[in-house]
């Protein structure tokens, strides 16, 4: 992904840098850095905003975004922070890109944020104990976990978590969306799964279905394009695998074990529903077929066991 980002920025510099007033040497130094060091989600976010600014012919904004890219510090590892704990332009980008309704992601109060921090730490500890390979993979995939507070109204539109390919490495978690450690562990498996697929999708789409072809989703009430169904089906298998491994490792207490068994049954049903939609309607690419085949093989083995 960083290589593709660097190639794209290199191309932007060569094709429009002079018109924007960007120095070729600066672009070369930037792309070398992008290739060499782990980047924050805002390196990707600023790049996408830059392309959009260029498309709008907004040269001042394009120059500002190039400067933002030039000033990006590399990632120093996974961080966890509340949504408003960052510069204004990064906050605006997160709210705009993560959610269709930016107002959904409010700043959590200190107690809510502290609880969420503790749950995330405990979820990682649980995964370290019972499924260390996944814990390590999540730490590789995620650069930042952003904590926000969804609406308190139980009837309001809300979210559990969100990821966006324009912010590769970032995941937004609703501090009110998970109330226990096991759910948080599943949310981390789920959202990092989306980021994993985003990385794969840099090489090509998962399916050739048109974006206006909509299908029933195993996780959402509203019909979604096939890419969304494939994503959902894949991450359901990932959550199932997480619970299965935690149960097998014997690291769950009695309450967590009962909850995990109930969730496993739900994941099996949801995976079946999603996979039926995929089998009936998807025109999978080779990449999509390869990824789904792995998930199907896992589910078939796990359910038979």
């Amino acid at each position: 992904m960083r290589g593709r980002l660097a190639d794209s920025v290199d191309y932007l510099g060569a094709s429009t840098g002079e018109a924007i007033g960007v120095d070729r040497g600066d672009v070369a130094r930037l792309t070398a850095r992008l290739r060499a060091e782990r980047q924050t989600p805002h390196a990707f976010g600023a790049y996408y905003d830059l392309v959009i600014a260029i498309e709008r012919d907004d040269r001042d904004e394009a120059r500002r975004l190039f400067d933002e890219l030039l000033g990006q510090a590399p990632s120093r590892g996974l961080t966890i922070a509340s949504i408003e704990d960052r510069p204004q332009h990064e906050l605006e980008r997160y709210r705009r890109m993560f959610l269709d309704e930016p107002g959904l992601a409010a700043e959590p109060g200190p107690a809510l944020l502290d609880d969420c921090h503790k749950r995330i730490a405990a979820a990682f500890a649980l995964l370290d104990a019972g499924f260390p390979q996944l814990a390590a993979e999540i730490r590789e995939l995620l650069v930042e976990i952003i904590v926000a507070a969804g609406p308190e109204d139980p009837k309001a539109l809300t979210f559990d978590g969100a990821s966006h390919y324009m912010l590769w490495g970032a995941t937004l978690l609703n501090a009110r969306g998970q109330t226990n450690i096991l759910d948080t562990a599943q949310a981390l498996a789920h959202e990092s799964g989306h980021n994993l697929l985003f990385g794969h999708c840099a090489a090509g789409p998962l399916a050739d279905n048109a974006e206006d072809e909509l299908f029933a989703s195993p996780l959402r009430a509203d019909p979604r394009p096939m890419d969304g169904i494939i994503h959902a089906t894949y991450v359901i298998a990932r959550m199932h695998q997480t619970l299965n491994r935690l149960l097998a490792a014997g690291v769950l207490d009695a309450g967590q074990t009962a909850a995990a068994r109930a969730d496993l049954a739900a994941h099996e049903r949801n995976f079946g529903a999603g996979d039926r939609v995929v089998r009936e309607g998807a025109r999978l690419t080779e990449l999509g077929d390869q990824l789904l085949s792995g998930a199907r093989a896992y589910m078939a083995t796990a359910v038979a066991a």
Binding site: S15, V51, E55, C201, P205, D222, R224, H231
Partner: protein, 64 residues
Amino acid sequence: MTKRPLSSQLDWNNLLGFDQITGDRDTIRTEITGRLGAKVGNKVGNKVGAKIGAKIGAKAGIKA
């Protein structure tokens, strides 16, 4: 003298995330250049994301 629009100098085939849009680039370009503000990014995100399996899958956790 008029400046050549920057957008005319971009080939999306060379751009991560935009390179998989095949059918309606002109329409999307019109939407980008015809609207202002934060919603522009959302629009492109929807278009691009729907195509490459990002935006939609990204929000699988949202309850409707």
